[in-house]
Amino acid sequence: MTLLSQHTAPEQTRTVATAGPSAPPVLAVRDVRISDRVTEREIVRGVSFELTPGKAVGIVGESGSGKTLTCRAALGILPPHFEVTGGSVEIDGTDIATLTPPQWAALRGSTISAVFQDPASYLNPSIRVGAQIAEVVRVKKGLKRREARHRAVELLRAVRLSDPELVYGQYTYELSGGMLQRVLIAAAIAADPRALIADEATTALDVTVQAEILDLLAELRERSGLALVVVSHDLAVVAHLCDEVLVMRQGEVVEHGPTRAVLYDPQHEYTRLLIAEHDQYGLEKFLTPKEAS
C-alpha cells in the first residue's frame, strides 16, 4: 500500500507499535460516568480503558448500553443534554475537561479521529467529497492544494473505492451508503491520527470491502502505531482486530479483559449470551465443526 509509505512528513517521527506497554496512553478513559441532564439518569456508569499506541480496544454490547456515548465523551462531542458527571478522559496526557475550543480543534483529526454510523450526516452535501478530505489534509498537515488533492485520491484508493478520481469529484448524494462510509473512513485517517474511534464503521459495508478496511486498519496499527477503539455488534470483527474487549450492558462494563480471555472463556453471563447468539446466527454455526476436525 503506497498510502502509508509516502507523504509521511519527515518531522513526524512517532513512537511506533514497537514501543512497549510503557508508552504513555494516547487515550485514557478513567471511570467515566455520563448522565442525561433531563431525566437525571446515569446512562454510563464507570467505563475505564487505556489506549497505548498500536493497541486496539473493542467495545461490544446491545444498543443503548452506552457504547456510543462513551466514544462521544472521549471526543468531547456528547449530544445536547448529556454530560460527563464523573471520571476523566485524557488525550495524550491532557485532561479533556481543561481543553479550550481551539485546543480541541488542534487535537481532533490529527491526534484523535472517529468514524460513526450514518456517514451522510458527517459530510457536507454541497461540497465534493474529495475536496472535503483534501481540506482535512491541507489544514492538518499543511500540504499544498495539489498535494492535498493527490493525497485525498490516494486515501480514497486505500479504502478500496474502485474509481477514486471519479469519487473525488462526486457529491454525497451520488454515492451509496457503503461508499460514503468509506469516504468517511478516508477522511478520518487523512491527518494520520494517533487514535481512531470506529463506531460500527464497517457494519454497512459488504463483507469483502469490510475485509479490506480491517486490513487497512491493521496495517495502520502496525506501521504507524494507530490506536483503535472498535465498537461493533459483530463479535468476530472485534475478535479479529482487538487486543482487549469491554462488554457493556445497560451502561456498565460487565466484563473487561484480553480478547482471547473474554471471548473464549467468558465469565459473565451476558458475554456468554452474546457469544451463544453469535455461534447460532453466524458463520460459526457451520465453521466450528470443520475447524475442530
Partner: protein
Amino acid sequence: MVRRVLSLTSGRIAVVILAVIALLAILGPWLAPQDPLATSDNTLAAASGAHWLGTDYLGRDVFSRLLDGSRVSVLGSLEVALTALAVGVVPGILSVYLGRVFEWLTLRLADTLVALPFLLFAVAVIALLGNGLTQAMLVTGALVSPLFYRVSRAATLAVARSPYVEAALISGASTGWVVRRHVWVKVLPPIAVALAQTIGVGFVIVSSLTFLGIGVQPPAPTWGGLLASDLGYLSHQPWAPVPPALLIMVTVWASNLLADAIRDVSGEAGRTLADNRTVRANRLGKGRPVPAGGAR
C-alpha cells in the same frame, strides 16, 4: 391536527379572531344599525351617538357600511382560497400519478399562470364575463392556484416513493388507496398553511380590487371600497380610513398567525413537540414506564 393547533397560544388567538370575523361576515348585515345605502345631508360627520364611526361623503353611516361590507369581503377572500385549493391541489396530487403527459401539461399551465400579470388578466376576464365578485374571485383563485399545485405536488412526490407506500402497493393497494391513506395526510399540513396564507392574500386582493371598483359595483360597501373612498376625503376626516384598514390588517394577521401555527405543529419537530404532551399524558394515565431512548 386541530387539537395540536389549539394547543398553541398563537393558534388559539388566530382561531378566536377568525371566528369573530366569520361571525361579523354572517351576522354583519343584520347587525348594521342603519341602512348602509341610505344617504343623508349629514355628510362627513364625526363619530357620535347616532353614527358610531361618523358618516361618509354621501352622509351614509360608516359603521353600518363596515358591518354590511364584511360579508362580501370575507366571502370574497374565502372564494379565492377555495378556488385556488380546488384548482391547484387535485392536479398537484394527480400530476405524480397520471403519467408524464398530464404532469408536463399541468406544470406548464402552472408556469403560465404564474407569469400572467394579475391585474391586467383580472380586468380582461371581467370585461369578458361581466363585473361581479364571483367572477373576480374565480380569476384571482385561478391565478393563486399554482401555489397549491406546487405545494401539493411536492408533498406528494416526497411520499410517493417512500417504502411504506411501496409496502402498501405490494399488499395490492390501488393508487386511490395510497392517496387516501398515505398521501393525503402528508399533503394536508402544507396545504393548510398555504390556505391560511391565501385567505390573508385574498383579503388584500379583494380589498384592492374593490378599491379599483372591480368585482363589486360602487354603492355596495366592502372594506376595501370604504378604505378607497375614505382616502379621498383624508383632508376632511384623517381618522376615517383607520377602522376598515384595521379590520383588514387584523384579519390578514390572524390568517398568517394561523398559518404559522399549522406549520409549527406539522413536520417532524412540531409533531414531537405537540405530541409529547399527549404521549406523556397517556403514559401517566396507564402508568407505563417511559422507555429510555436517545442514547445513540
